[in-house]
Symmetry: D2
Subunit: 286 residues, 4 copies
């Protein structure tokens, strides 16, 4: 046996016991109600109304559970629904992927937006894109895109294209009209797949007092998953609205959804637009 | 059509053109050599020896390519090879998953470590785990683990267990003996799936001057992928050593690997231990 | 005139107007009460009791104001009260600075801890220090310390010293007995002056539901200020307990305090232990 | 004596000894040459030319030393030289501060830019400002600004003002003409005082391969210092060009400069435009 590394003596039990008492209470409650109740001891009384979203395959595959959220502290995040990812002559199209996969997310998001608009749920749209000078684009990212695009990568204009691929301010970089932001919604621009280390997303969530996130957008396994992972690490309750997502490959899309469900919800939970909309309607938010 | 959002005028082309000239040069070179050459213009001359690792399904599925790295600026990162994730009475075992999936990574990592040790490649081990007071564990993470573990979650001691699950300092939290760190290697502790926002990993990589990362460990779709995504967003060249990884579900494991290969390498590239070891031997690092 | 850079059109006024309505309301209230009231619209009802801490020179020098906080969501952070910074044979002592400056913080912190202990205010201690392998210590930091220490820097053992300077696990790195953590308090280790990018502090604050921070410790202008700046950028309400701080230079200490007060409180506000303790007593937290 | 906290056994000495050998070598060299030589063992051979910038009060007050940097990996960062901070009807002006303090930085930056332009030193400008919807502005920041501005704060338009204070896209938010970015320079927008956690600055520095930073701008004790602290924590070599800075208070300005010099350079070093320009000329970069 190798010699021991850095040690963390099992000291100071008080705080663990305190937290575990809360966990045990919530666990007993979950056994009865199958619900992750809104933890008032942590967040206080709801500021809006409580909504109860049904999530699938939780805690085990085949089971159904519920996540309770405070409407006023819930963010509905629509990730990167840009022409570059789901429209013609955009980045994904130029790489030769089947647009039907990513474009399939449009309908469910459209419906969910209809339900959400007019309530106190906060709507946030993200956009991936680089500064026109490419300063925030790593060399290897640009190079790989040029290779897979047969000479047309990030910052280039494809033949008959709408503009430079994945560049802020270009037509192709903008959000698809069907799910376009309206007055009162938020837009966060980011340069990476993730958003917590180098965009204002974490600030915005904090400024809005968000505790729960319902996330959708494209692509499932890349940007949606990365943001969900980051938010989950900070303790945000994340629920993927699965039919409002899409990827460049069906298998990856499905595995990305399944992966969330492992370990009782390793990155959060999974619902769909029908169940999310039903939860909003049941709570009579408007 | 909705009115336009925040604008980014396509201003200041000089820098884009500068970067794109470098990209075009590397692209032309790639077409000839199928190699992502070590970008001297960016990192300078190698400090160690150049090694050339064969990667699969790049740029397209079925293709073979190479990533050239400077041995002295390459980190071999072994993620979370802890008893909690691949050993009996650990966290994953208690949840009821088949250990053979995660334990399968041990052999290839063991072999790769043999090849890497004694060279100037830097070896970094990470460990996921929480402070004994659970202060760095989000409530929902602990709760979910208790539910899926039927009452035995993070911070609890399973029947006949080795210690508190996923808690720093416990036997089960330590690294499996077969791939245990030795003198001269680095160990980074982290509380989340990712490591960039709340551990010293980014600092360590920077202090060591790392440009390229060969990553392995468990689980493929959770911690390995999250760290790879974070590093990739910052421009690190990441290569997954796929047989040195494992997950709680075979399909998720395979999709996690496939997902990396999309878009010409959306999170980096994929190799295996045999090819990685061959590259080290060919370069005669020791 | 040079041509315009990237544009941000003044679009979507709804959210600005919403926030500004809240701001105006709080502004009118402040004019009447000189109090930054606990913003219930944002955080909800208090979970503990409201305490009202008097702060000085706010909004203008000579004025007195109050910051209202929810005891259960207030963190009392004691920064780096380690022997290395305020004790004999520690890091600061070896560099030749007058210990009386930093040690002066001990008394007020001791008193504040007495008042805080037994209430629902969360106590967090931080410690600056490096892994024994120095992997998380930048080369230039170690070099500068060696130069100013005349050959004895970070990682070295001074003559008749207690251990390696600024290294985790060494006696000199530990917290001064007078303000030593007790059961139920939190300890966060960090490698830098700041704590948000590479320690678990941000996680811990989030897991505890903290909205307000009363900060003290050493040194005023270095670690205390850096953490305060980071927290302030994320919208935490920060109040410096000025007599519980100290620096290696009196002028820098005083300017660090003054600097907080500029612009109506650019990094938060300033109080002292007497006023903080009085606020706790008045609220009858225990 | 309280019981011991988490332990870090002084294990694994190899890496510490390796780093310390480098440090000792550099320390011996420094004693002879008073120069922080460009660490080739870490960064490799220079990509541009070496420049040697004289810095003051290092290691002790009254001493003179030199920082050697690779021109191609040096960033000249001009922080927030916006009308909002140094021009009429801007944010600082509305708060009633004497503009001559912050405007004094213009001349030296102008001269330094003349010297830097046409070389391979990278020029980065930052701008503090908020999204027009204020989503990235914490409530307390906006409130404090409204109070100190007697009803005119962030997002408001002062009487006869140029636009909304500190809002992206407004005239007052733009950079002063005298130090306006030109083709080939970089502009990074940020919402906080710091830039590492919520803007693309860290990415940009990494994409450009930066190791050394010469920093100037306004205000000395707020944004300039915060960015310098963040960069310093990650091991960037930072040098403040002191006459190219300014604050809302002379004493704070001077203390901010002095504070950097403590502990042999706790946040880096201090030079002025004359010395910086001389270093560029001596190295014959153009």
């Amino acid at each position: 046996m190798a010699k021991p590394l850095r040690q963390y003596e099992p000291f100071y039990h008080t705080n663990r016991e305190r937290l575990q008492a809360r966990v045990t209470e919530a666990y007993e409650q979950f056994k009865k109600t199958k619900t992750f109740e809104f933890p008032r001891w942590l967040y206080g009384e709801p500021l809006g109304k409580l909504i109860k979203v049904e999530v699938e395959d939780c805690p085990n595959f085949g089971d159904t559970a519920f996540v309770e959220m405070d409407s006023a502290r819930t963010a509905f995040i629509s990730v990167d629904m840009q022409i570059d990812f789901c429209g013609e002559k955009g980045y994904v199209d130029v790489m030769g992927y089947d647009l039907s996969q990513t474009a399939a997310a449009l309908g469910p998001i459209e419906k969910a937006l209809q339900a959400v608009r007019g309530t106190d749920i906060k709507v946030i749209h993200t956009r991936e894109g680089h500064d026109p000078d490419l300063s925030d684009a790593p060399f290897n990212k640009v190079l790989r895109s040029k290779i897979i695009g047969n000479g047309v990568g990030i910052g280039d204009i494809p033949e008959n294209g709408l503009g430079r691929l994945l560049i802020r301010g270009q037509k192709n970089w903008d959000i698809n009209e069907r799910v376009y932001p309206i007055e009162g919604e938020f837009v966060v621009d980011k340069a990476g797949k993730g958003a917590f280390g180098s965009s204002t997303l974490h600030m915005v969530l904090k400024n809005l007092g968000i505790t729960h996130i319902v996330i959708c957008g494209i692509t499932t396994d890349v940007c949606v998953h990365t943001i969900m992972r980051e938010a989950n690490d900070y303790g945000y309750w994340c629920v993927l609205m699965k039919d409002g997502t899409g990827a460049t490959d069906v298998g990856n899309h499905q595995a990305a959804i399944k992966s969330i469900k492992m370990q009782g919800g390793v990155f959060g939970n999974v619902t769909d637009s029908e169940r999310f909309i039903r939860a909003i309607q049941t709570a009579k938010l408007k």
